[in-house]
């Protein structure tokens, strides 16, 4: 970073845009210039600062002062009072109870690997990424390491795929490396569509070069020369930032022909999606990349043997690839000091719902759910009581308060019959009806079922009909039994994880909140459910 006495970091993402960050930035820059501070104060547009629902957020460093809900007039006041006179504007500071008001403590409780640069560097300046050790791993890999060595490092790190399934990344890469000679590809899955999840968007917006470096390392390791980034079409800012990052990296010889003046060449292309949740499933994504409707393929063969255009293909999630540069740069032994023995490293979560400080956090694998809800999330909103947590998005598990000590990693949650999934944590208070929430989950799956296989196409349809009866108050216990029978059949017979995963929310909701379901049977009335049924579009 350029040397300046004070850096003012302004988080720019879609949420800040909607809160008017552009006007705040111009007011701030104008005020800094007018006050003659241009030489010592640098205003840096950066990615998301990890604080949601509080409008425009800016941080003044090295003071560690965070301001929220900043308007253009506030920006002028901050410049005149804080930047010029050194007196922080108390009125706008985040409350002392907010973890972000004490960044040292916040970072002590979080372990930031993937998000280390988010909110710290200007994501549109490659120099800032490089200044913090960026592209060092790629440079060393292509000049000093053999591809096999890179795979060995990733294998030894124990890195597992962060898309939800937790498959060991090194083993996937080795399979592609060892495929018969010929073309092969690296595909990054940035089709983030799991409800409640926006971690990949924040990585793409906040530190796009880290992802590109991870993709290039994957390309070098498996012998690919083309990486394709499939981003959901709605993520306009992500698409723009990644495109700029690719152009900047090519301009300095880090991507494209002859990476770091070696014989290794690696191009990255961006492909926007067109709106389909199922395209987050890797084989549906490959179909979509080939210009077709996103129907999952029958497996085997798996993408590592027959992926894009039938060639061996690595498909990795954004968060997975963003872990790779640090693993190569700092070594697998360092990585294994984080997390648990079977799930090393960190995980990024989006904490949402009835908590005081919703937002994005990164903690070590194995961190108890309680820490996320009560420490990083700040606990329930004042006066509210915890009803339960939906973890993992729509394809996730409903956990009652008794499960708060669950450790969050692939294996611990698997043992409890839950799944880590995308890392979405929805905290529900006593006002939320679990039956109604499950109804919303089932309508989501009904809408997003691709229609290819009968168990899912028909199963989601029947589930929604049963749900309408249950929510309308006219159902008997047999409705619940039918729901279980259907989701079990879907789990056994659906073609892809979309249909298979519906059993998870249904079974965990019924098991953890049985009384609430029982109260809806035989004419039991629930105002929230009835309001939903009334509001449902008539079709």
């Amino acid at each position: 970073m350029t040397l300046a006495r004070v850096h003012v970091l302004v988080g720019v993402d879609d949420e800040a845009r909607l809160a008017g960050v552009d006007a705040v930035l111009s007011a701030l820059r104008a005020a800094v210039a007018e006050l003659g501070l241009s030489g010592e104060v640098q205003v840096v547009e950066t990615g998301p600062l990890g604080i949601s629902g509080r409008g425009v957020v800016i941080a003044v460093q090295p003071d560690g002062v965070y301001y929220a809900g900043v308007t253009p007039a506030d920006a002028r006041e901050i410049a005149a009072e804080h930047l010029l006179k050194g007196r922080p504007v108390a009125r706008l500071r985040l409350p002392a109870a907010a973890p972000v008001a004490r960044p040292g403590e916040l970072l002590a409780r979080q372990t930031r690997v993937v998000l280390a640069n988010c909110g710290v560097i200007d994501p549109e300046r490659i120099e800032e990424y490089i200044a913090l050790g960026g592209y060092e791993a790629l440079g060393r890999a292509v000049t000093e390491l053999r591809p096999e060595d890179v795979i060995e490092v990733v294998k030894r790190s124990g890195l597992r795929g962060r898309g939800g399934a937790g498959f060991p990344t090194g083993i996937k890469w080795a399979a592609v490396r060892n495929a018969p000679p010929g073309e092969r590809y690296v595909v990054c899955n940035a089709d983030e569509g799991e409800p409640g999840t926006f971690k990949d968007r924040l990585i793409l917006e906040g530190d796009p070069h880290k992802l590109l470096e991870g993709m290039a390392l994957a390309g070098y390791a498996v012998g690919a020369h083309l990486g394709i980034l499939y981003i959901r079409g709605e993520y306009a800012l992500s698409i723009a930032r990644v495109r700029k990052a690719i152009a900047d990296a090519e301009a300095v010889g880090i991507l494209g022909e002859r990476v770091f003046d070696t014989d290794f060449s690696f191009r990255v292309e961006v492909r926007p999606g067109a709106g389909a949740y199922v395209c987050g499933e890797e084989t549906a994504l490959l179909e979509s990349l080939e210009g077709k409707r996103g129907w999952p393929r029958i497996r085997p063969p798996y993408p590592v043997t027959a992926g894009l255009w039938g060639k061996p293909t690595v498909v990795n999630n954004v968060e997975t690839l963003a872990n790779v540069p640090d693993i190569v740069r700092r070594g697998p032994d360092w990585y294994r000091t984080l997390g648990t023995p079977t799930c090393p490293g960190t995980k990024v979560y989006t904490i949402l719902g009835s908590v005081r400080y919703p937002g994005l956090v990164e903690v070590e694998m194995g961190t108890p759910l309680r820490v996320l809800v009560y420490e990083l999330g700040g606990g329930l909103l004042p006066g509210r009581a915890l009803k339960g947590v939906l973890i993992g998005g729509a394809a996730g598990a409903f956990l009652p308060p008794g499960e708060l000590d669950a450790r969050l990693d692939f294996d611990s949650l698997g043992e409890r019959g839950a799944a880590l999934g995308s890392g979405a944590v929805l905290v529900m208070d006593e006002r939320t009806c679990v039956v109604d929430t499950l109804g919303s989950v089932l309508r989501f799956f009904h809408h997003e079922s691709c229609g290819q296989c009968v168990p899912c196409r028909s199963g989601t349809d029947v589930l929604v009909r049963l749900m309408v009866r249950l929510q309308g108050g006219g159902a008997s216990r047999s409705v619940l039994e039918q729901m279980v029978a259907i989701v079990d059949a879907m789990r056994a017979a659906s073609l892809c994880p979309l249909g298979q995963s519906v059993a998870l929310p249904v079974r965990t909701a019924l098991a953890g909140f049985a009384e609430e379901f029982a109260s809806h049977l035989d004419g039991g009335s629930c105002p929230q459910c009835q309001a939903t049924v009334r509001a449902l579009p008539k079709k």
Binding site: S52, G273, A274, G275, L390, F444, H447, T532
Partner: protein, 152 residues
């Protein structure tokens, strides 16, 4: 730019289909794909028309029916639902006077439901065209619609 000029920028390879359709749809005032757009794409890429239709009807961002000048898309996924999306929907129906999937008589707005927009930090959320409007309350919904009615 004419549609022919747009086509010329795409190599005749099937994998560019979605990107091409996005661009063609964006050129039409009603934010939808005309029958001749599908034919143009099929001919340029050497694909059967059925294959193009197959893709168009699959993805939610494409429409074969004309839409209003502004498309209002309310997120109906669980996180927005829990945060009160249905009261926002009631207000949208009231101020627009249409049901989901319909277009207002003056051709200004089409009301749609969508799956998660990835802006859950400000749930409940809707998008009007490319603008994300979050933390929706009935008052905020009415104000946003009014702003677009008056030409922003």
């Amino acid at each position: 730019m004419t549609k022919e000029a747009v086509l010329a920028r795409y190599p005749p390879a099937p994998e560019v289909l979605l990107a091409l359709l996005h661009e063609l749809q964006g050129m039409n005032p009603g934010q939808y794909l005309l029958p001749e757009d599908l034919e143009l794409a099929a001919r340029h890429l050497g694909l059967p028309l059925s294959r193009v239709r197959d893709a168009v009807t699959f993805y939610s961002m494409f429409s074969l029916r004309p839409r209003g000048r502004h498309v209002v898309r309310l997120c109906a996924s669980p996180h927005c639902h829990v945060a009160g999306a249905w009261s926002a929907l009631d207000e949208l129906r009231r101020v627009l006077g249409v049901e989901v999937g319909e277009t207002t008589a003056d051709g200004l707005f089409t009301l749609e439901l969508t799956s998660c927009l990835g802006a859950c930090g400000v749930a409940p959320v809707m998008m009007i065209d490319d603008e994300v409007v979050g933390n929706l309350t009935p008052a905020k919904v009415a104000a946003a619609v009014a702003r677009y009615r008056e030409g922003r």
